[in-house]
């Protein structure tokens, strides 16, 4: 059995045997390993990450640029230097914000008319306007935002959190992904994969409806009663087998996972059963409206999951193209904002009214933003060099705009936040020191933030 050194020590000192098993039941049997908590109190216990796939336009939603209006129609001034782009847009005329921005709330934080509902919560948002990454391509940027690396196959942020902190509910996975039914991310499931971490830490995809998890129902149509009878016989067989094998831990664990799987057949449908939610709650999330039903349902599911102890929920917005508005920002963002604005606002409101606000972190953002130049007239190309992600929850400052892009929104300029700093800050909020959350793999103690030691926590945004 190949184990990381930390795990080996854990087994050595933490004790194995049946007593030790209770610690690791059972979603994460392999290694509830590192006990990565540092000596400060975690501000956040759980995360809901609203992943806006395709790259929403910061200059049209959260990062107003008056200079862009002034220079509308002109090429980018030489003073900005050459810029790497995905498509040949570098010389295209600059395109001003599609819709007006307004000051909102007490804080006066500026938010576009694209998002009137979220704008009502301006005083609760911590808008990082200076995020930046390293690739103009979707999959590399999807990977970097979700795993810390532009290369394929590294463990995702959710899997790191699952590995470091586990689930608060042993009947549920620590890391759940609620995909967009319209299609997957560019880059596919590796974006929520476990990379070199054990498979038990990968994101478990769940859906609304009667089959929230794959293989939850018997393909042979066995009833719960028949299954129980079968399981009883199986477990008696397994117990004899176990007794003849010195009560081997791994064998015991599988006996327990069969029971957990059986229990989940009841608990997982309950998890996604919205019939117990009040009409006003359904309205709050827009579940009652056609345009917002899908994303609203998934936002509501995310709330139900964190209530039940799931550690990390990622909700995807946007099918395979998603927010990738190359040709017409008004049309693309118009539809997606209409589908998500109310559900997101409803989620923020609901977290507050249910007392979940203080210990939950909400993240909103895509794999990059969009260029100030136009593409095909009214569209925009990818921009990883400076864009917006916002956070919300009791652990971060509300009504805050942190950092800034340059005058036209091309590059992060003031207080730039590289993705790795964003990840380190996210772990910090969860009470985890990114340097200590590591896994021995191919000769290295690997970390989410990589081997570099110039990673910084964004202290100013912490509440």
């Amino acid at each position: 059995m190949l184990l990381p050194p930390s795990r080996r020590r854990f087994l050595q000192y933490g004790g194995s045997g049946l007593g030790g098993l209770a610690l690791s039941v059972l979603w994460q049997h392999e290694s509830q390993a590192t006990v990565a908590r540092t000596d400060f109190n975690p501000r956040v216990k759980r995360v809901i990450w609203l992943f806006m796939h395709g790259g929403p336009s910061h200059v049209d939603l959260f990062d107003p640029k008056p200079e862009l209006s002034r220079l509308a129609g002109q090429p980018i001034p030489d003073s900005f230097g050459p810029v790497m782009t995905r498509r040949k847009v570098a010389q295209n005329p600059l395109l001003p914000a599609i819709k007006p921005f307004r000051r909102r709330g007490q804080s006066g934080l500026e938010i576009s008319d694209f998002l009137p509902e979220i704008a009502n919560y301006a005083d609760d948002l911590c808008v990082i306007r200076s995020l930046h990454g390293d690739s103009v391509n979707h999959p590399q940027s999807v990977y970097q935002m979700n795993t810390g690396s532009v290369l394929m196959g590294r463990p995702s942020v959710g899997s790191w959190v699952a590995y470091g902190l586990g689930s608060e509910n042993e009947d549920l996975p620590a890391f759940v992904v609620l995909p967009d039914p319209g299609g997957g991310l560019k880059g596919g499931p590796p974006a929520w994969g476990n990379g070199f971490l054990p498979a038990s830490y990968q994101g478990v995809t769940m859906r609304a409806g009667s089959r929230p998890i794959l293989h939850l129902d018997s393909a042979a149509g066995f009833t719960a009663h028949e299954q129980r009878r079968m399981l009883d016989a199986l477990q008696q067989l397994n117990q004899r087998h176990l007794a003849q094998r010195d009560y081997d831990d791994e064998l015991s664990a599988r006996i327990a996972t069969h029971e957990l799987a059986f229990r989940m057949q009841a608990t997982a449908p309950e998890l996604v059963d919205l019939s117990q939610e009040s009409a006003s709650t359904l309205q709050l999330y827009g579940v009652d409206q056609k345009a917002t039903n899908d994303f609203g349902t998934r936002c509501l599911l995310a709330r139900r999951m964190i209530e039940r102890g799931v550690r990390f929920v990622q909700v995807h917005s946007g099918d395979t193209n998603g927010w990738d508005a190359h040709s017409n920002v008004a049309d693309n963002h118009g539809k997606l904002c209409a589908a998500t604005d109310k559900p997101v606002a409803g989620l923020l409101h609901d977290l507050k009214q249910r007392g979940l606000w203080d210990e939950t972190l909400v993240i909103w953002g895509g794999e990059f933003g969009r260029m100030p130049m136009s593409e095909q007239g009214t569209g925009r190309d990818h921009n990883p060099w400076g864009y917006t992600v916002w956070l919300a929850g009791g652990a971060v400052q509300g009504g805050m705009a942190y950092g800034a892009t340059d005058a036209i929104g091309l590059r992060a300029q003031e207080k730039p936040v590289h993705i790795r700093n964003f990840h380190a800050t996210l772990l910090h909020l969860l009470g985890v020191d990114h340097e200590n959350l590591s896994y021995y793999h191919n000769g290295l103690d690997e970390r989410l933030t990589g081997p570099t030691d110039d990673v910084e926590i964004v202290q100013e945004i912490l509440a």
Partner: protein
Amino acid sequence: MMQSNAAQARACWFALLAISNPLSLLAQEPFSSTRFPESPLLAKQRLDNKPLENPAQIQEPPITDSDRDHWSFQPIITPPVPTTSMLSWTDSPIDSFVLSRLEQAGLAPAPEADRGTLLRRLKLDLLGLPPTPNELAEFLHDCDRDADAYQRWAEKWLSSPDFGQRQAQPWLDLARFAETDGFEHDRVRNEAWRYRDWVISAFNQDLPYDRFIGLQLHGDLTGSKEDQIATMFCLASADMPDINDQDLRRHDRLNELTSTIGAALLGLQMHCAQCHDHKYDPISQGDFYRLRGVFESSIPELKRDQPFNLFAGNDNKLEPRLYFRGDLRSPGPIVEAAFPRIGIPEDSSANCDTQRPRESFSKWLFAQDNPLVARVIVNRVWMHHFGRGLFETASDVGVVPAGPTHPELLDWLAGFLREHQWSLKALHREIVLSATYRQASRQETNDREWSARLAKDPKNNLYSRFPRRRLDGEVIRDSLLSVAGLLQSEAGGESVLPPLPKELTGTLLKGQWPTSGREADHYRRSIFIFARRNLRYPLFDVFDRPDAGDSCPQRNRSTTATQSLQMLNSELSNRCAAALSQRVTEDCLEHDELTASNWISRLFVAALARPATVEEVSLFESFFANESSRRAACLAILNSNEFLTVD
């Protein structure tokens, strides 16, 4: 405990810095070669593509005597076989090495496993399939008449075409093999299956390991199309053909292949040195880029949207150079192709022929004084049979991990492989015929020393018994199909795509999982299932198949509820349970009476290669009543720990 671990890592890092070269001070960066925001200055440098100011020479720490003292860098000198007191047990020199350690610890080896267990172990290890009831009966019959029965069965299975179909998968794990590019488009590599077939065939024909590796490094130079396919090993990694910056694509691929070759063939974690000198091992950044230089001329400038997955001669004139921080935008001094210095003994004159660098490299790998290659491969073969290596980190012979539990045995095996002209089958044979391998994994009725073994050798480091382990996902599927009588024997050719739930295919681009039209194809062996990088076949996925992101020396072995859900509820396991039930019923009708006890007994033999006990018959008796219950009983057996593990 993690803190102390990390603190220790930091301490070593600083200690090394003090004696390391000044360049490494710059070099503490992650692997991404595009790590800075696209500032105007850097963008300009990138567009100009000029080397930055750099020193003319690479300064790097010399290889010291203390570096060379590390076990893996010592020359391999075949050690004498130790003398032991219990002569009757030493069927192979392997056993003498194992026994001598056991005797030192005051332990006797475990008795031989019972015949059925042994047969099941042997077939699962060699062929990845469970024995059939007929095979079990024949084997038991043979054993009664012939002392060499086990040996003959081992021989038979070593010659079976199924052998390569099992042995190929661990190699494909190492080769981070998949049949698609990954990233956004995850496009199909049309001929990738030919590499899979090449590996299967190489193992079946027992292509000597030196030739096996040689062809994977430079098969394009022989003029044979089939040999050229072998070079996919070097280029099987994920790739993004539509990336804007094709120089970056080439850079990333070269660095990746250098890392994989270092890990898979040499057991050196070269990848740590692409950005900076290795923090612990004597591998400098210069070593990394000189090794990369061996392949530099084989990857031409790449063209957008054009695949490049096989070598085709050496025609590139780009000069190998070092890249500071691994960053393409920070080109450093020019280097010359060479082998990692720590692998070259002090008195050796090994030198890379820069006119034929890949051939020269592969020749050096198998030179008599190369200390790494033989140790690394014999350990992998050992690991295949015992579930773990003589050293556990099978792709890392560096200074951090624990060394081998049995260093002399390791070197004896390395010597054995060389003496047998790098025949891997000879090595498999020697191992499976050893008494060490044939030990019981649990207490046999007449074994009084079992508790002493558990007490004195709790982790089984001394091999005082056979280590039990869970089967791999691919073997589980093949076993399900095999006992159900559904497994198709057709081998080779284009990969097949069994049906998948739409929830899974919905995470892909349209048309990326076109289900194979012929139903029989859905029941071919796991090795022939299409390996899409962006979607692992779900049963393999939950049972820890690696993601083909990088070279995987050994899989995790997790135990999760999603495994149970699939095994209990999936279409596949229920289809197999139904087929097994029907098969057992027909079997009863053909050979004796269809009664509960006959049916249950035959079920156990079919699925677990042993008859049911009296208690087990009564446990399942009530399930005999109707077809639905019989299927449930079959499903229970297919989910049992006994079915899912090898004893």
